[in-house]
Point group: C2
Chain length 292, copies 2
C-alpha cells in the first residue's frame, strides 16, 4: 500500500500506473509533476492525479514512493531537482526504456549510488503518448523488469515489485547490462528497422501509390514506426552501445540474405526462411498470449 505516490511525467506510462493503482485501491494520494501546467491540469481533470506541482522538488515532498516516467533525455534534470528533497525512507523507481543511462543519471545527480533507487521498465506501451492515452489495464498480464543495483535496499526492490504486481504486472529481475541487451534486440532494433523502412518507402516518388498496395502484413510491420520520435531519439542515445551491437549483428545477417538473393542461392534462402519460421512459431507463442 502506498500512502503518497509522486509521479513525475504523467503521460502514457506514468498516467497508466496512476490509474491502475487507483483502481486497485493501492494508493491513498497521487501527486503529479511535469513541465507543462496544461498537461497536469488535464491529468487532474481526468482524475488521474489528486493534485500537482510543476516543481518536482516540491512534488516529491512527503511521498513514500516516487515514479519517474519522463523521456530518457529528461531523467538527469529530474533527478538533480529531487536529490536531497526526498522524505526519509522514500523509494524512487522509473519506467525508462533503457537502464544503464538512467542509473548513470541518478548517480551523477546524487553524487553517489543511492540505496533508495530501483531501476525499472514496464514492457508495455502503445504508439500513443500523453495522459489522454493512458488506461488502467495497460500493465495487466504484462512484464516489468527491475534491475536493482548492488547498493539497492532489498526492501526498496520489494516495495516496487509489490506496486507493479498491484497494477497487474509480472515482475522479473535482471542486471542493468542484460536488460539493455535484451531490449536492444527485441524492441530497439525492430523499431529502427520499421522507422528506416517507412522512411525509405516514403521517399520513393510513387509513395502514395506504394502505400495503397501495402497489404495487411505491412500495416502490422510498420505500426511501431508511429511511435513518439522524441522517445526514440532518447532511446538511441541512451542505449547506443547495445543497439549498435545489435544493428551490426543484424547487418551481417541481412548481408548473408542479400548475397543469397544476389547469387540465386536457393538452398541458403530456404534454410534462412525455414529457421526463422521455426523460431517465430515456437518462441512467439508466449508473447502472443500476453498481448492484449
Amino acid at each position: 500500500m502506498i500512502r503518497r505516490l509522486c509521479i513525475i511525467g504523467v503521460g502514457l506510462i506514468g498516467g497508466s500506473l496512476a490509474r491502475a493503482l487507483r483502481e486497485a485501491g493501492y494508493v491513498e494520494e497521487i501527486v503529479g509533476s511535469s513541465r507543462r501546467e496544461e498537461h497536469l491540469q488535464e491529468a487532474l481533470d481526468l482524475g488521474v492525479i489528486d493534485r500537482f506541482d510543476s516543481d518536482p522538488a516540491r512534488a516529491v515532498e512527503g511521498a513514500d514512493m516516487v515514479f519517474v516516467a519522463v523521456p530518457l533525455g529528461a531523467m538527469g534534470k529530474v533527478f538533480e531537482s529531487i536529490a536531497g528533497k526526498l522524505a526519509t525512507g522514500a523509494v524512487v523507481t522509473d519506467g525508462g526504456s533503457a537502464k544503464a543511462s538512467v542509473v548513470r543519471d541518478v548517480c551523477t545527480a546524487v553524487g553517489d549510488t543511492p540505496d533508495w533507487f530501483v531501476p525499472g521498465h514496464p514492457i508495455a506501451g502503445t504508439e500513443q503518448s500523453g495522459v489522454a492515452a493512458s488506461f488502467a489495464g495497460l500493465y495487466q498480464g504484462r512484464r516489468v523488469i527491475l534491475t536493482p543495483l548492488e547498493q539497492t535496499r532489498p526492501e526498496a526492490t520489494a516495495r516496487v515489485r509489490a506496486m507493479w504486481e498491484a497494477a497487474g504486472a509480472t515482475v522479473n529481475e535482471m542486471s542493468v547490462e542484460h536488460h539493455d541487451e535484451v531490449l536492444a534486440a527485441t524492441s530497439h532494433l525492430p523499431h529502427m528497422l520499421a522507422f528506416a523502412l517507412v522512411e525509405s518507402l516514403a521517399r520513393l516518388s510513387e509513395q502514395r501509390e506504394i502505400f495503397e498496395y501495402a497489404a495487411g502484413g505491412f500495416t502490422d510491420f510498420t505500426r511501431i514506426a508511429s511511435s513518439d520520435p522524441v522517445m526514440w531519439r532518447d532511446i538511441c542515445i541512451a542505449n547506443r552501445d547495445a543497439l549498435l551491437k545489435m544493428l551490426e549483428r543484424f547487418n551481417t545477417d541481412l548481408e548473408t540474405l542479400h548475397t543469397a538473393i544476389d547469387s540465386r542461392d536457393e538452398e541458403t534462402l530456404l534454410r534462412i526462411f525455414t529457421e526463422a519460421k521455426v523460431a517465430r512459431d515456437a518462441f512467439s507463442r508466449p508473447a502472443e498470449k500476453s498481448k492484449d
Copy 2:
C-alpha cells in the same frame, strides 16, 4: 459467369478463389489439379472443388477459365503441361506474387506471347498455406493487380477482372515492371527484414529468454516471418532484380540511421523518426481500412 473453372494449385490462394466464386454463384463446375492426390482429395472433401485430375493437361480440358496458383518456381512446368491443351477461347490467369518471371515462363512454354494469358496478383493472404486454410472471404475488399501485356486480348482481361470482382476484390491494372517494383517495396523487402531479424535473434544464445520479453509490437512486426519458406524462396528468385534494388535502397537508409546513432546525432535521429511517423500515420490509413 464461368462454366468450367480449372484451378491448378488448390492451396490458400487457389482454394479461396474457388470458395469465393462458388459462394457468389459465379461458377458452374470447378476442376482442381496439383501434384499430390491427397491434397486434391482433401479439397474435394471440403467441397472446394467438384473433381480433380493430377495431370494439368487433362484438368484444363474444356475449361473456359484457368487459374494457376502454384509456387512461382513451379509455374514454368505447369505452363509447359497445359500449352496446346487449352479449349478454344479459354482464358488463363495466375496468382503469383511476382509477374515478370511468370510472363517469361508462359512465353517460354508457348514459344510466343499468347493473347489468352492475363498475369494477376491478389494482394491478400495469410501466414497459413494449404487448402484447409482457404476461405471464401479472403479477397473481400482487397485489391487484385492485373498486368495485361500488349498482346493480351482486352476481352480476356475483362473476364479475369469480372471474376475477381465476383470474389469481392477491387481490380487495378499496371505494367509488369511497375507491379514488381511496388511489391518489392511493400511486401518482399518487409518480409526479408522480418525473416532476417527473427533469424538474427534466434541465433543469440539467450534466445528463449529474449523472445519472452518481446512486447506486442515485436509480435506484429515478426508475424510475417511465419510465412511459407518455399513461397518466399521462389519470390526471391523470381523478383530478384527489383528486390535487390529495394534492399540496397534500404541499406543506405539504415546506414544513415546507424551513423546517426553512432555519432549521437540527435537532430538527424529526430528528423528520421518524425518523417517516418508522419508518413506512416498519413499513408497507412487506406491500407488499415482495407484490412480484414
